[in-house]
């Protein structure tokens, strides 16, 4: 038992943190928000120059090895800057699904383009999907970065398919989305021909594990950054002749943020590590992490606005980027209530 980063993990954290704080600037993120919600130059640098895209993907599949702990470290750093990147859809959900559930051929033909950033993939889930053989009919309403995707992993509750965005019968409608750094698209399938993943159950399970952990880690990054920026403001802003951070009402609110963030940090790395070690606790941990860290992100981003006063409500200030990202983290891949109900079912049995 040693629940601390190794030297290598520390190095990855420093590299990722430096990369995102230098490059995923407010200015660049806002430029991406005006387009398809992706800073394409940043994504290229992330995938090719830094080679971070292969983390969490086995070397045998062309990745860099390592696991969800390292993926979480990167997602935390990306979340801290609200970076406009398709990491969640392309890497955490789709690449993980293909690694876990795809045949060797499917891995060889799809993973290299995802890891190089050449192709962006979107994860489209439709519980009511109709599959006539592999002819798929249905719709997924909220596919993250779906408008920029060249490839979709389409899932029902039991099946998983690969399908190109330009395949016949596929219609992609980009949606104006509250979080402009990760806009949704509606993906409609009308007898579109999917390529079934060899092991759909494994694909879905792996996408969920990595997706929950990645969302949680982003949430942790959002929450910590919201706190850090608020602390900086609390030192410089003066009212009634004192720094506002000297008021107890203000300090206590900051302290409450810290209490939640420290728990979220435990949750994220517990879940990531439990998955990597194949622990029995992994199933519970990923639900715990997703619900707790997303709620923490929202609380802290909301507090960030409140504690900044009027400036926090403006478009000019970055607080709204954190707030909107946090909201989207809460609802995507299952609400907090849903995740907690999964935990309840594990310890209490199914609801009557």
């Amino acid at each position: 038992m040693d629940f601390a980063f190794t030297d290598e993990q520390m190095m990855i954290a420093e590299t990722a943190k430096a990369f995102f704080s230098e490059n995923a600037t407010s200015e660049r993120t806002r430029a991406a928000m005006a387009g398809d919600g992706i800073d394409h130059a940043l994504w290229q640098a992330f995938c090719t120059e830094l080679g971070l895209s292969g983390i969490g993907i086995p070397e045998s599949a062309g990745g860099a090895g390592l696991g969800l702990v390292e993926l979480a470290i990167i997602a935390e750093a990306a979340g801290a800057q609200v970076a406009a990147l398709p990491m969640l859809g392309s890497l955490a959900l789709c690449a993980q699904a293909i690694v876990a559930g795809g045949s060797a051929d499917q891995q060889a033909s799809h993973l290299p383009a995802l890891l190089s950033g050449e192709t962006i993939a979107g994860y489209a889930h439709d519980a009511a999907l109709k599959a006539d053989g592999n002819a798929l009919t249905g719709a997924a309403g909220f596919v993250a970065h779906g408008g920029a995707a060249g490839l979709f992993v389409v899932t029902s509750n039991t099946g998983a398919w690969l399908i190109a965005a330009d395949a016949p019968g596929v219609t992609v409608t980009p949606l104006t989305t509250m979080d402009q750094t990760r806009p949704f698209a509606r993906v409609t399938l009308n007898s579109a021909q999917g390529e079934p993943l060899a092991n759909p159950a494994e694909a879905i399970a792996a996408a969920h594990r990595a997706g929950f952990v990645t969302v949680a880690a982003e949430g942790l990054g959002v929450a910590q950054a919201a706190l850090d920026r608020t602390v900086a403001y609390a030192r410089e802003r003066v009212q009634f002749g004192r720094a506002i951070g000297s008021f107890q009402a203000y300090k206590h609110r900051l302290a409450d943020m810290v209490v939640e963030i420290e728990q979220a940090r435990s949750a994220v790395y517990w879940a990531a590590c439990a998955v990597d070690e194949g622990s029995d606790e992994a199933a519970l941990a990923v639900h715990a992490a997703k619900s707790f860290a997303a709620d923490t992100a929202f609380k802290c981003a909301g507090d960030m606005i409140q504690l900044h006063g009027g400036i926090g409500f403006t478009w000019e200030h970055d607080a709204h980027l954190y707030f909107k990202r946090a909201r989207s983290l809460q609802s995507m891949l299952g609400s907090g209530n849903w995740h907690r109900e999964q935990v309840a079912a594990m310890i209490l049995g199914e609801a009557a």
Partner: protein, 392 residues
């Protein structure tokens, strides 16, 4: 980062569990499952000595002082198995977890020889004399006085909230040794024998009807001149060193006791049907998640070897567990309903869950209230300006 335990650690776990279960099934079956610190105090002292005789009293201490020099992982394992086996809390936890480590860190060789073997053997039970009626959250404003008379310290004043003073042999006292000094300056840390005419203990009956805490009066109480840890006037630093041990491995054992309480709630919810109420299910899930995060927060805290910077997990631990447990008490009563508000005991004794509900109101107060914790987190953790002190 690694969560699992090695094979040899798992073997150690089995060894701990076997021994503890055997004791709880045999000679000490009568104390198994006790959840208060006061029940069957004399038997609990015998248990302390039994632990000492078998080398299980303070396994993290160095071997030369009665410990086993156990690794961190081993201490974690022992604490978990201790609670899992239903062994009641340590009535000498102050001696084992606070006084002993403080002596190890700051005591003279002579003091170590004099106290550590007896603490380890369960023969010397310690209690803590910090708080006073006028010095609760503001610990530095203690007024109990100590003056040197010949080769003895003479102590006058009053301490309060002295947990388990009525069954303890020794008390450590923070007293004002410099006339007219204020705040953290001029304090001295003394160790005093309780059984003497100058010390009087009066129990304080609490909201749950129990009396774990006491008022301790010092009226010409005496101890030899060399009974101090650290130097004269250095008591604040010693006290702060001592309090830093409060976030040690014992927290893992405490968590296993919390686990027993949550399991009790889960069993009650299943039995009375509230387990199918979606709102109760959400709250039980939150409690479960909170408990797990407490465990992994403690693991992070214990794994942290970089003491050069403030450890957020350590700084937030107190408010985290105290708030969690207070919420747990409220959940317990919501699960039990009105049945939780009656007891079959004419002596006003309560079962585990109603007692949890009542007792947990103290958790967010003692050892630094939630409000003081928030100040500490903001000031020490985030570097916010300190609260100004009044002149009074």
């Amino acid at each position: 980062m690694r969560l699992g335990f090695t094979q040899s650690e798992e073997q150690f776990r089995a060894e701990c569990a076997d021994w503890l279960n055997a004791q709880m099934a045999g000679e000490f079956a009568d104390i198994r499952g006790i959840t208060t610190l006061t029940e069957k105090a004399e038997r609990r002292k015998e248990w302390e000595q039994h632990l000492g005789a078998h080398g299980w009293s303070c396994i993290g201490w160095p071997k030369e002082w009665g410990g086993r020099g156990a690794t961190l992982a081993e201490q974690v394992i022992f604490a978990e198995e201790y609670a899992r086996a239903g062994v009641p809390g340590r009535v000498n936890h102050i001696g084992i977890e606070l006084a002993g480590p403080t002596l190890l860190a700051l005591g003279t060789e002579e003091q170590k020889r004099r106290f550590l073997p007896d603490i380890a053997a369960g023969k010397t039970i310690f209690c803590q004399g910090f708080s006073e009626p006028g010095a609760g959250s503001d610990l530095a404003s203690v007024r109990t006085k100590a003056r040197l008379e010949g080769n003895e310290w003479v102590v006058e004043g009053q301490k309060i909230w002295t947990s388990l003073a009525h069954i303890s042999d020794w008390i450590f006292v923070v007293a004002r040794s410099e006339e007219g000094s204020k705040g953290p300056k001029g304090l001295t840390f003394l160790m005093m024998e309780i059984d003497q005419p100058g010390i009087e203990i009066r129990p304080i009956k609490q909201i749950n009807g129990d009396a774990e805490f006491n008022e301790t009066f010092f009226d010409g109480a005496r101890c030899p001149a060399d009974s101090l840890i650290g130097a004269v006037g250095d008591g604040w630093r010693v006290a702060m060193t001592l309090l830093s041990f409060e976030r040690g491995v014992s927290t893992l054992g405490q968590q296993m006791a919390f686990r027993n309480e949550l399991d009790g709630i889960i069993a009650a919810a299943k039995a009375n049907g509230t387990a199918s109420d979606p709102l109760i299910r959400q709250r039980i899930a939150r409690a479960e998640i909170g408990l797990q995060l407490m465990r992994y927060g403690a693991m992070r805290m214990l794994s942290n070897t970089d003491h050069s910077k403030v450890d957020g997990a350590a700084l937030t631990y107190k408010i985290q567990w105290a708030t969690w447990r207070r919420n747990l008490g409220e959940l317990a009563m919501d699960v039990l309903g009105q049945a939780g508000e009656v007891t079959g005991s004419p002596e006003y004794e309560w079962g585990m869950l109603p007692n949890l509900f009542l007792y947990s109101r103290a958790d967010t107060i003692y050892g630094g209230t939630n409000q003081i914790q928030r100040n500490l987190i903001a000031e020490r953790g985030l570097g916010m300006p300190r609260e100004p002190r009044g002149d009074a």
